[in-house]
Amino acid sequence: MSERKAILQVKGLQTSFFTDDGVIPAVDNIDFSVHEGEVLGIVGESGCGKSVTSLSIMGLVPSPPGKITGGKILFGDKELTKLSDKEMRNVRGNDVAMIFQEPMTSLNPLFTIGNQLMEAILIHKKGWSKKQASARAVEMLTLVGLPRADELMKEYPHQLSGGMRQRVMIAMALVCDPKVLIADEPTTALDVTIQAQILALMKDLNERLNTAVLLITHDLGVVAETCERVVVMYAGQIVEEGPVQTIFKDPQHPYTKGLLQSVPDMRYKKQRLYSIPGNVPKPGSVNTGCRFAARCEFAFDKCLTQNPDLYQTATVHKTRCFLYEDQEVSTHDRTLVES
């Protein structure tokens, strides 16, 4: 995995919301990269900044009040935060595409499926005829496993089920062969069987088309099934990052441990489910110390006064916790990993 090229790099990204109640740093100095053809998961509770991260990459943070206040987002050699409006439009849908949580409302109810798919093609493929675009749209609908694609082109979103609409969204996102697909909670609004189908489809397309997927979810089950690497976010920061097997088998950060313990286990039916005490702090409300300290059963003095770094605890594993400060691998190894 580490020999694959990083195509999307987020470096020190900071996105804040300027509200009447002050500046809220929804995303605070996060670093991660998406490699060619991989599936990277970002997990965290609602409000931890995962959606804002994805919207920042797309340049779609609602503004005002939101604004990217620091850091870089590199797509290949393009710095996305520095692009003009026009250049950014060329990236959206073409290099980086996105699908959203709500398939029921993400398609425009007043235009046919065909119209919306062809629109996505014709924006980026200059010189294509409508006929070519239509053929490509039908091809994509078939690729995402929708039956009678020809008829679907003439139908409206309300004639389709939620699962079908999400397939249409995926088809629309992939229609211009983007390098990266950002999927923001793509299965949250769907029922479980459809969820599994959509995830299988995304995994399959990821392998067939070699499109990297940045999967944003709060559902650890989804991560375990689909992702190769995981980034765990808490209160606007990355608290742990590593390969999926390691995170699930040997979680390091107390927050990740807590999350994994909160997943119901079918083997022990009667046990009361574990939950992390307390609530996610409001972004910007914890300024000193570790943001998780108040809810952490391992917290000690230092946690309350200093903000821990993201320690590299193994070649491909990072944790933001003082418990692992002394386990950090040498900077020499780290440079090896990054190069």
Partner: protein
């Protein structure tokens, strides 16, 4: 769809029937007597009685009402007491004049109002937004007769660039076929006269357009603001679509439906003849026609004039309802 239209047209019958009754009763409740008005103050009692008998006004009200309804069923709108011409013939030129003026006013109101609303929503809280919304507020609360008089004073008298009254120049009358002068002059290729006709439309058109324009702008803005926050607008942006098309294609089509309702109602009101505006600008429209009929207690003209106007109002709203289903595939009437 045809089924639905048929049903709506059937529903029209009780509405119009109820309306004829109300209008019939109300105009007879106004003090004054047509026979007296026609014969003048000096007329003898006998002469008035004779005329009343001749016009059928001496019958009990229900006999008069059912006579009138019977006539309507045969397509007879009655005869004017004043001119003895059938109302159905007499009303056409007035209707056409009102139609031309209202259409002009509605076009201005829709084009300016909808775009002002869109741009205000697109650039919410910008100087354009603030200016447009303050102007809209002023527009909604503007007394139209005052605005009309001011415009006549400024553009007609002080600047002398626009005619203040009527539809045409007295010395250069239009040889009309349809009574829609814009259409007439175009059909005849008389573009010099077309210019004159359009000039005559400007001031009354603007005066008439002011309130609808302001209402439409405010409605469009709030509807657009709602839609601009929706998921499909974000999707359209995520595709890489230009903001212009995101706004004018994806957002506008969704936002326009509540605005259409308002446009329909306003258009109906304008076609009913804006009595004030038509009086100020001496526009020979249906509003003035009915207004003068009221002064003369010309019962058949009042009754049938209002009936025709009400019919047009209801038809426009039916048309708007049909338009909904053409815009939104989720709206199905059958």
């Amino acid at each position: 769809m045809l089924h639905y239209i048929g049903r709506r047209l059937l529903q029209l019958i009780p509405v119009l029937l109820g309306m004829t009754f109300v209008v019939f009763m109300i105009i007879r409740a106004i003090p004054g007597d047509p026979a007296q008005v026609i014969l003048g103050q000096q007329a003898t009692k006998e002469a008035i009685e004779a005329l009343r008998a001749k016009l059928g006004l001496d019958n009990p009200w229900y006999v008069q009402y059912f006579d009138y309804l019977g006539g309507l069923l045969k397509g007879d709108l009655g005869e004017s007491l004043r001119t003895t011409t059938p109302v159905s013939e007499e009303i056409w030129p007035y209707l056409a004049a009102t139609f031309e003026l209202s259409l002009f006013a509605v076009l201005i109101a829709v084009i300016v109002g909808v775009n002002a609303g869109i741009i205000s929503a697109w650039f919410q809280n910008s100087w354009f937004d603030y200016t447009a919304m303050i102007l809209a507020l002023v527009g909604v609360s503007m007394p139209i007769f005052w605005l009309g008089l001011m415009m006549q004073y400024i553009f007609g008298i002080e600047l002398g660039i626009l005619p203040t009254t009527g539809r045409e120049e007295v010395r250069n009358p239009i040889d009309s076929m349809t009574n829609l002068y814009v259409l007439d002059t175009i059909l005849q290729g008389r573009f010099d006269q077309l210019g004159i006709v359009l000039k005559h439309l400007v001031l009354p058109g603007l005066a008439l357009a002011t309130i609808p324009m302001a209402i439409i702008a405010r409605m469009t803005r709030s509807s657009m603001l709602d839609v601009m926050r929706s998921d499909y607008v974000r999707t359209a942006r995520a595709k890489g679509q230009k903001m212009f098309w995101v706004v004018y294609k994806h957002a506008l089509k969704n936002a326009i439906i509540p605005v259409l309702t308002i446009i329909g109602l306003q258009m109906g009101l304008l076609l009913g003849g804006a009595i004030l505006t038509e009086s100020i600008f001496a526009w020979p429209g249906v509003g003035r026609y009915i207004y003068e009929a009221i002064n003369f207690r010309d019962y058949p003209v009042i009754q049938s004039g209002i009936l025709v106007v009400a019919f047009i109002f209801v038809m426009i709203n039916l048309f708007i309802d049909i338009l909904y289903s053409l815009i939104d595939p989720r709206i199905k009437y059958d």
